[in-house]
């Protein structure tokens, strides 16, 4: 039998385009995990994903309580869609989720970004989306390395053991 040579990943480039709690955290967990494995890591936040690196929004992300069939009441009963639409529900559910995540040692977003950059991971914002939402670099977390066009980002994604992940 031929022994297969292992070809470990050398670089991951991640794109986060959505701003819900779970989308941003999926990106952050995977990015931090890659950094901890010694993999070169670049994360590109675009469109609503920019909320994940915007100072004002990043620690108050919400999860959708309507249009989310996987949403359950505490205890596992289905979560009625009508209830999800009531004022304050989304906010309350989201803060409950953040609390549960904190218990599992998942840090708030600002601290999570610090974890990633402490290990050498790099975080970027999309220029087009920044213009669209009228944001400036000063509105973003200090952990952001810069604002890029998608062309700049692709240039960073070179190498034959590189993967691009869209979350």
């Amino acid at each position: 039998m031929e022994a297969k040579e292992k070809k470990p990943l050398e670089k991951v480039c991640m794109i986060c385009a959505k701003g819900s709690l779970e989308d941003v955290y999926a990106t952050l967990v995977m990015a931090n995990g890659a950094v901890m494995e010694g993999i070169e890591t670049k994360v590109f936040f675009t469109f609503f994903g920019l909320d994940g690196i915007t100072k004002k929004a990043m620690n108050h992300l919400h999860t959708a309580t309507t249009g989310n069939p996987a949403m359950r009441m505490p205890g596992g009963l289905p979560f009625p869609t009508m209830l999800g639409g009531l004022p304050g529900i989304e906010s309350a559910v989201s803060s409950m989720m953040r609390k549960q995540m904190e218990e599992l040692d998942m840090p708030p977003v600002d601290e999570f970004l610090e974890l990633i950059t402490a290990g050498g991971g790099e975080i970027y914002a999309c220029k087009l989306a920044m213009d669209m939402f009228k944001l400036e670099l000063k509105d973003l977390s200090d952990e952001v390395s810069g604002i890029l066009t998608i062309g700049d980002f692709y240039e960073m994604c070179d190498g034959d053991r590189t993967q691009i992940i869209f979350t």
């Binding site: 967990v29 901890m36 494995e37 010694g38 040692d105 998942m106 974890l115 402490a118 290990g119």
Partner: protein, 103 residues
Amino acid sequence: MAEKTIAGKQVNVSEEGYMEDMSQWNEDVAKEIANEIGIELTDKHFEVLNYLRDKTAAGESLSIRSVGKSGVVDVKGLYKLFPKGPLKFSSKIAGIPKPTSCI
């Protein structure tokens, strides 16, 4: 499970090389495992290793965040001591099981 001789000592290790019995650990074993990874251990390294061993002995699971908040070392410092494997390499050298946390 396999037996391996590290620094003249017979130890039980997992397939990935993590020690399975932390009582078989000593500083020479640590130095040899670190050597294989390419890390030369300093006093600061041992301070972290002993912290990891104490926490594991107490039954606490470790994450990079909790180690970073331990007061022993911050996250940046941990990456500096154990490049490319702040939790994995340090656990391996500390003679404790492979970390199970994703963070």
